[in-house]
């Protein structure tokens, strides 16, 4: 579950689609309308819109959205 991120920007939104349940909350609350639910019923990003504002992260009930600093790793405990 280690995902490193794009080096070009300082922070970036990662989506863990395994955890996403497609509730649509992030889509509804994203101020940039940067997200949508794809055909598989999972959240997906129009990456150019996102400002990494973390609103969706705060709202996602499934811990599926994380705004990660450049080069950081997302990992968990046991």
């Amino acid at each position: 579950m280690i995902r490193t991120v794009n080096d070009e920007i300082t922070a970036v939104l990662t989506i863990n689609q395994e955890w996403c349940k497609g509730c649509g909350i992030c889509v509804a609350f994203c101020p940039r309308e940067a997200l949508f639910i794809n055909d598989a019923g999972k959240a997906e990003k129009h990456s150019d819109q996102c400002t990494a504002c973390t609103v969706c992260e705060l709202f996602c009930p499934d811990f599926a959205l994380v705004v990660v600093k450049k080069g950081a790793a997302v990992h968990g405990g046991n």
Binding site: I25, T54, E57, P61, V67, G76, G77, N78
Partner: protein, 269 residues
């Protein structure tokens, strides 16, 4: 702030909650609050009762204690008295805390023991499929109140205050940043503190009461909430149907576990 996934048992995810359930939002706010307060992971204990919301304990990477229905605060009282140096967060559902657990709730408040109660109020018994709880507003429907409940609801924070609690705050899943801050303040407060976190249960509550899906419920929650500070300036008519948000009370009073240990140190030493 990034969600500290060290504090989550990511291997246990995805969790069992329904799509759009507010439990995850509240849980994330709790994790951020713990991170923000800078606690050592070892000194934090999560205690919970039984219910959907109480399953949060299983996903949090601390010492976690998933107890019996309604008894979380009583377990936590024993643990806190035995190990006053630990910081305890006690997650309970509205039913867990205020129905079967009501007695332990008021006695924890009376003793003013330093436990941080996070009451996830979805206004319903989620886990068992939608029976009314003591926090279901009068008139709302539930499987055991098909025509709408006739019972009056507790005002949980009034109850806590009447029982002697020294810190009471209300937040909601639609304002996750504020919720996080309320939990942080509760944790800092020395004594029994209660954070009531309103949370959408689209499956067992929203659907039956035609409140829409998770998104609509969250929006409704946000709209009907008013910060206490702002409420002070509003008149009664404007406050009709609104829910107060923020720290409703915060009082200084001796904390039980530390008073007790001070006493035995004196006796003992």
């Amino acid at each position: 702030m990034q969600l500290t996934q060290d504090f989550l048992r990511t291997k246990k995810l995805p969790h069992i909650w329904c799509p759009g359930c507010g439990n995850g939002i509240v849980t994330a706010a709790l994790v951020r609050a713990i991170e923000r307060a800078g606690y050592d992971q070892r000194e934090v204990v999560i205690v919970s009762g039984i219910g959907c919301s109480s399953r949060a304990a299983g996903y949090l990477n601390f010492n976690t204690l998933h107890t019996t229905h309604g008894r979380a605060l009583a377990f936590a009282t024993g643990l806190k008295m035995a190990r006053p140096e630990l910081t305890l967060f006690v997650i309970m559902g509205d039913g867990d805390c205020s129905a079967i657990g009501g007695n332990h709730f008021i006695h924890s408040a009376r003793r003013n023991i330093d436990l941080n109660a996070i009451v996830v109020n979805n206004h319903i018994y989620g886990m068992t499929g939608g029976q009314h709880s003591p926090l279901t507003p009068t008139g709302m429907k539930a499987t055991t109140a098909p025509g709408g409940t006739l019972e009056r609801a507790f005002d949980l924070l009034e109850l806590a205050k009447g029982a002697g609690a020294t810190f009471g705050a209300r937040g909601n899943a639609a304002q996750p940043r504020q919720l996080e801050q309320l939990i942080t303040r509760a944790a800092k407060h020395k004594g029994f503190s209660v954070v009531e976190a309103l949370s959408p249960c689209p499956i067992a509550y929203g659907r039956r009461n035609k409140l829409g899906g998770a998104v609509e419920m969250l929006k409704g929650m946000k709209e009907s909430s008013v910060a206490v500070e702002r409420a002070a300036e509003m008149d009664e008519a404007d406050l009709e149907g609104k829910t107060l948000n923020g720290v409703l009370f915060s009082i200084d009073a001796p904390e039980f576990s530390s008073e007790y240990h001070r006493m035995i140190k004196k006796d003992h030493g």
